[in-house]
Subunit: 345 residues, 2 copies
């Protein structure tokens, strides 16, 4: 896949490589989402997985926020649970409810039955979308691919649905540690394949979302989540990897040594803590509280400036600390991006 | 209320006062709860609020785990949302669902209408239960009273129900900061009255549960949660106060200076981090991951010993990092307590 149009805005990739930039790049987690009226139009017409599985729709949705907001990166529209589908789990997402896995892992035997599929084949529609988006972007900004972390996917496979504490998934690990390790390791292998296939298809960076890592104690995180993310970092070739483990503040120092190019941060940490914990040695991405986007625009912009001042312009990617929420007015999302471009030291 | 029976086991109060102990005291959050078959019998017969509002039932439930587990403290059976009821909110808790507030705060005007009730009168049934429990305990162990933190109560009053992120409650604060401050301050005043009334009725220590403090950024926590907990600590007289702010790891250092006698910790922090952040200057309580109670008993006991070794025997109260979960077998809960009693340096 060599003849994609030339990249015009490489701010994001420069920040990931730790190269000097004149201002930090900015994008927003879930920037292709429900706060955009043009997204809601497609949401009304197509089911969630229709939107994921139809390359033309995934492309349209991925690109919707790019010019509208003026962000410095695009992120593939998809869902972390397509991996569960590739692993032969039957997943549905009903509007207004969370995801349901209809054949969750209930026994040790169920767990040992999980085996690595040919992901690039099973999720071929994602790779098609990636190539189509990359072409359609026409070099405006780089394209980020993504996947869920093995621990986070495991949580859904065992719990069977979303949860506040994923107590069932955690309990499974303490009752059947070997069976849990088997599943986690299969997911890690499959995820590395998946991200490599996205990169071959055109993704210029990839992010691993560990949405539920922060439910683990520091010791459990270092057994159940981190090693599998590290394995992915080791196996992914050809593009920088960003690790985002929501809530796992205690693991920042360890994650900074993973070989990843950047760490995503949630809003519950200060820039000072994060820079210190990571010994100022890795690019950091984050961490504006998404609900602060509801503040009056002048106040919001001042907060963005303060955040940049505290993280520093270099080795920093401006983002939210979690996905943008549906109720954010578009002008407030635009103001977030504008504030970054208006920043001066 | 001076002629209660003499206290035979003062390990818990000694640890709160920072006095030397031969072993750390132990109790478990939600120790009076669904994992106990005798609790489930009463749950089948009476609604949640019947159990809270009938002093005889609250007494029976509070005392159920005491001899069964051999814990060093009893905690009042009640719910943090009785405060919402005292403030004229209509709260129901349906089995299997979370709480619903039927008349949530939706506008600035709604917020300014919230005013402090005569809590000791409105929640008189709680004070009756406290006195009855204290009498019934007959000096076996001290009795802990409790309340929700102002921020946590506020979350429910505005959101109207449980939530993963309480985005609506947070958004309200950023749209109407003065109205939010009014409500938080009324709740803080009412909560201090409430805890003082519990102490007069017989509670020998009180704990403030900030279940949702950890959803706030460090800066928001120091504006929306901490000052109101500090106000409660300042206003509560006659018994030690324990502050438990789940997820607010970044605020440990500040909370240690609040004047509280102890800080409760969730399982997502190491003993070493917590001791360092609090400058070894305050009693700490916690922080066993409740799902670890499902581990085989010998392993569970070793983990408890390791936790005690790392926190140290002095200025330490053994507890879980959150409430015990319904699926825990009673022998595992008993083993947790036994492990503490078997600990030797």
């Amino acid at each position: 896949m060599s003849n994609f149009p030339e990249l015009k805005n490489d701010l994001f990739l420069k920040a990931l490589r730790g190269e000097q930039v004149t201002r930090p790049p900015v994008w927003m987690m879930r920037q292709a989402g429900r706060y955009l009226p043009e997204y809601r139009e497609l949401q009304a017409k197509y089911s969630f997985f229709e939107r994921c599985e139809t390359p033309e729709l995934a492309t349209e949705i991925t690109i919707q926020p790019i010019d509208r907001l003026g962000v410095d990166a695009a992120i593939l529209f998809s869902d972390i649970l397509v991996m569960a589908q590739a692993l032969d789990f039957h997943v549905t997402i009903e509007k207004g409810e969370g995801p349901i896995i209809h054949n969750p892992i209930q026994t040790e035997a169920d767990a040992f039955k999980v085996s690595k599929p040919d992901v690039a084949d099973r999720l071929n529609y994602v790779m098609q979308a990636v190539t189509m988006i990359r072409t359609e972007l026409n070099g405006r900004v780089p394209l980020i691919g993504f996947a869920g972390s093995p621990w986070t996917i495991f949580c859904y496979l065992v719990e069977g649905h979303g949860s506040k504490d994923f107590a069932k998934a955690k309990a499974f690990c303490f009752s059947y540690p070997k069976a849990a390790a088997h599943v986690l390791s299969v997911i890690a292998d499959a995820t590395a394949d998946y991200l490599n296939a996205q990169i071959i298809a055109g993704a210029q960076a990839v992010q691993v979302f560990d949405s539920w890592g922060g439910l683990l104690s520091p010791n459990d995180f270092s057994v159940l989540s981190y090693p599998y993310m590290k394995q992915i970092v080791d196996q992914v070739k050809g593009a920088p990897v960003i690790l985002f483990a929501k809530g796992a503040w205690y693991a920042m120092e360890e994650m900074a040594t993973s070989g990843a190019s950047a760490l995503g941060l949630d809003w519950c940490t200060t820039p000072e803590f994060a820079r210190k914990a990571t010994h100022n040695a890795i690019t950091l991405q984050g961490n504006f509280d998404p609900t602060h986007l509801l503040k009056p625009i002048p106040e919001l912009k001042l907060e963005v400036h303060d955040m940049i001042r505290r993280f520093g312009v270099q080795r920093y990617i401006v983002n939210l600390g979690h996905g943008i929420i549906p109720g954010i007015p578009v002008p407030h999302a635009q103001a977030f991006v504008e504030a970054v471009k208006e920043y001066s030291e």
